[in-house]
């Protein structure tokens, strides 16, 4: 067995495996059954035919008369001979030999059975080119022992054997087919709870961590579903504790940062000394960057599948998200003199609204960070033209663009393309990538219209 077929055997369905295991022994049983049935039928049938032959022989023997002079006469009227020979299917031969094996009557050359301890004795032989079955009877007469042989061709018997064989084969094959059918149906019915379980598992989304319904699960697989449910529960509680940890971390990080940032802002306004003010502005900028990085790290941690497992997935209106993202970033675009707009068609996707909002915020953030003043950033959403239609969102800018050789690398954490300015921490696209993967969506990074700028598109799997 080569490796591929070994793998096939391991991955074979239980139904197939059961059928394969059962079909060999069943076929053997069928063959044995046919042989036994045949043997059981043949013996009485042959006995019946043989008995008829004996009867004919004995009847013929009754017609023997001893003649004076030690000879024997076979005294059979022509009608009786006709009767003896009359047979619908077979040719009947007979031969009467005197005490000294001299011909008395019948078909000359018909073989006789050798003397035996049994009388009458049966023989199988060839005569006139056909197989014959005969019986030889040694009849003791005063003149000596007369040998009478009556034989017939085997047509009748052959035909009977033949018919019997066919009927045995037919009934046994029918039985075999019926058994196979029963097994198939039985296995199918028996496996129904397993198939239902498979359907239950198949229909779950990857984020679904609710326990499997065990009410109709058969005892044999219950340990499996119990193990799965235990695993689900563990993942669920891990995700929850991770969420809890992140919430605490967020609180512990953001509260002092908020205090620091507001106080620095106030100080900047309160101070008149130019030198101090400059340093305060630098401090404030540093604090903002620290806040941004902390936020991004928290978002990244929360976007990880182990944490998102607990997030509630639902039907999300992509258009609403696109419009929201534009409205949210409009002030920043205004400050940077960037024309930020939306081109939204009706589109929906399955996902976590919160994570998708985070994803779009990062995409717009990036676009605004790398687009110079008087540039243009557009958020689009819609459905693809191919069937089944897939929802997508994309953000396009007319900035410097990402060189093709770097497009694969920009989703790495903390990666910043060489020569980039701006205050990004290099986590934006990593967060996007994480969220995209959590949604089984695809991320495409390409150029915008007329090969200028960057276009990042996220296409969701068809619903």
């Amino acid at each position: 067995m080569n490796r591929a077929s070994a793998q096939r055997a391991r991955g074979m369905t239980i139904r197939r495996r059961l059928l394969l295991i059962l079909i060999g022994p069943l076929a053997l049983l069928l063959a044995i059954g046919v042989v036994l049935d045949y043997a059981a039928g043949v013996v009485p049938l042959r006995a019946a035919f043989d008995q008829a032959l004996i009867n004919e022989t004995l009847a013929a023997a009754a017609q023997l008369r001893a003649r004076s002079g030690g000879t024997v006469e076979f005294d059979l009227p022509p009608q009786a001979i006709e009767m003896l020979r009359a047979d619908k299917y077979d040719t009947v031969y007979y031969l009467v030999l005197g005490p000294h094996d001299e011909y008395v009557a019948g078909d000359e050359g018909l073989p006789s059975a050798a003397p035996d301890h049994e009388n009458p004795t049966f023989l199988d032989a060839q005569f006139k080119g056909s197989a014959i079955r005969g019986v030889t009877y040694r009849h003791a007469m005063p003149a000596g022992v007369v040998t009478i042989t009556v034989a017939e061709t085997t047509n009748k018997r052959d035909q009977a054997w033949h018919r019997m064989l066919i009927s045995i084969l037919l009934t046994d094959t029918l039985q075999f087919a019926a058994i196979l059918l029963l097994i198939w149906v039985g296995v199918r019915l028996g496996l129904r709870p397993l198939i239902a379980l498979r359907a239950q598992i198949d229909s779950r989304s990857a984020q679904d961590l609710a326990p499997l319904d065990e009410t109709h699960v058969p005892g044999e697989v219950r340990p499996l579903t119990q193990a799965l449910n235990r695993l689900f529960a563990t993942v669920r509680s891990n995700a929850q504790s991770q969420q809890q940890f992140l919430a605490n971390a967020a609180h512990q990080l953001r509260t002092p940062l908020a205090g620091l940032q507001t106080q620095l802002e106030l100080l900047r306004h309160d101070t008149d000394a130019a030198g101090v003010r400059e340093r305060l502005i630098a401090l404030l900028e540093g604090t903002r960057r620290l806040s941004h990085t902390a936020n991004q790290l928290l978002a990244l941690a929360r976007a990880e599948p182990t944490a998102t497992a607990a997030a509630d997935f639902g039907d999300v209106d992509l258009r609403e998200l696109a419009e929201e993202a534009v409205a949210k970033h409009f002030d920043r675009a205004l400050r940077q003199h960037i024309d930020l707009g939306v081109e939204a068609a009706r589109a929906r996707a399955r996902g976590s609204a919160w994570l998708l909002r985070e994803m779009l915020a990062n995409l717009v953030d990036n676009a605004l960070a790398y687009t110079p003043a008087d540039g243009r950033v557009t958020v689009r959403c819609g459905v693809t033209a191919d069937a089944p239609a897939q929802g997508y969102v994309e953000v396009e800018d007319d900035g410097p663009g990402i060189p093709p050789d770097q497009r694969a690398r920009v989703t790495a954490r903390f990666y910043r393309p060489p020569g980039t300015s701006g205050d990004g921490c290099g986590l934006g696209l990593a967060i996007v990538d994480e969220i995209v993967r959590g949604h089984h969506a695809t991320l495409e990074i390409g150029s915008g219209a007329n090969d200028r700028g960057t276009r990042v598109r996220v296409t969701f799997p068809a619903a």
Partner: protein, 222 residues
């Protein structure tokens, strides 16, 4: 305008108090929900800034109790927690807006003004957005001291924008605001009225175009 800050972190509370005082609000601060409830029994505030992670009774519970007690004072949640459940939970309980720490002071002040304006605009007679003032019962518009004469449809659009100042108002929504008089108004008509409004109100009032989405009336011309 009186604001009560309910925040247990002294540094943040002090920053918010000073920052909001500087832009003209009267600000009080309590470090716990229990003290906030006591303060609210005695005095009236125009806005509450509530931190979610308070010691003892937390922010959620405080908002729930206030709303159950029939208090309609607007609530702005200012918190470090930004998980979806927190956000949705707080808004469902009756909070009016949600701001995640750390924040910039101008943004905090803008949100406070917007919330107070929204809560007043239903009952009060006027809306003031920077130099722009709308006298709603009289349907009069002033920019600083200059009276501006608007047609009914121009007024309807400006009123709609002013009620949602600082927020993007979709073209569809503006169209609905004027379509009660006239069937078959197109979104192009909205563009026409916006450009007339810009002309009449002058450069001190900023009606921004958000491409593909709608318009936004801003508090200050930045």
């Amino acid at each position: 305008m009186r604001i009560l800050i309910i925040e247990d972190d002294a540094l943040v509370a002090d920053g918010m108090r000073r920052g909001l005082s500087q832009v003209g609000f009267a600000v009080d601060h309590v470090p716990s929900a229990e003290l906030a409830e006591a303060a609210l029994q005695q005095e009236n505030f125009d806005l509450l800034l509530v931190d979610l992670g308070l010691p003892g009774v937390d922010g959620f519970e405080l908002v729930r109790r206030l709303r159950r007690g029939g208090k309609s004072t607007p609530v702005l949640i200012v918190t470090a927690r930004d998980a979806l459940a927190d956000r949705v939970g707080a808004l469902d309980l009756g909070a009016d807006d949600y701001l995640v720490k750390p924040f910039a002071l101008p943004e905090l002040a803008a949100r406070c003004r917007a919330l107070i304006r929204r809560s007043k605009s239903n009952s009060d007679s006027g809306i003031t957005i920077g130099p722009l003032h709308l006298d709603i019962p009289r349907r009069e518009t002033r920019v600083q001291s200059r009276a501006v004469d608007l047609t009914r449809r121009e007024w309807a659009i400006l009123e709609c924008l002013a009620l949602h100042a600082g927020q993007v108002v979709s073209k569809d929504r503006l169209q609905q605001a004027i379509s009660s008089w006239d069937e078959g108004i197109t979104t192009n008509a909205v563009e026409v009225y916006i450009s007339r409004l810009r002309g009449k109100l002058g450069d001190d009032v900023a009606i921004r175009t958000v491409r593909g989405l709608g318009y936004r009336l801003d508090e200050s011309v930045a």
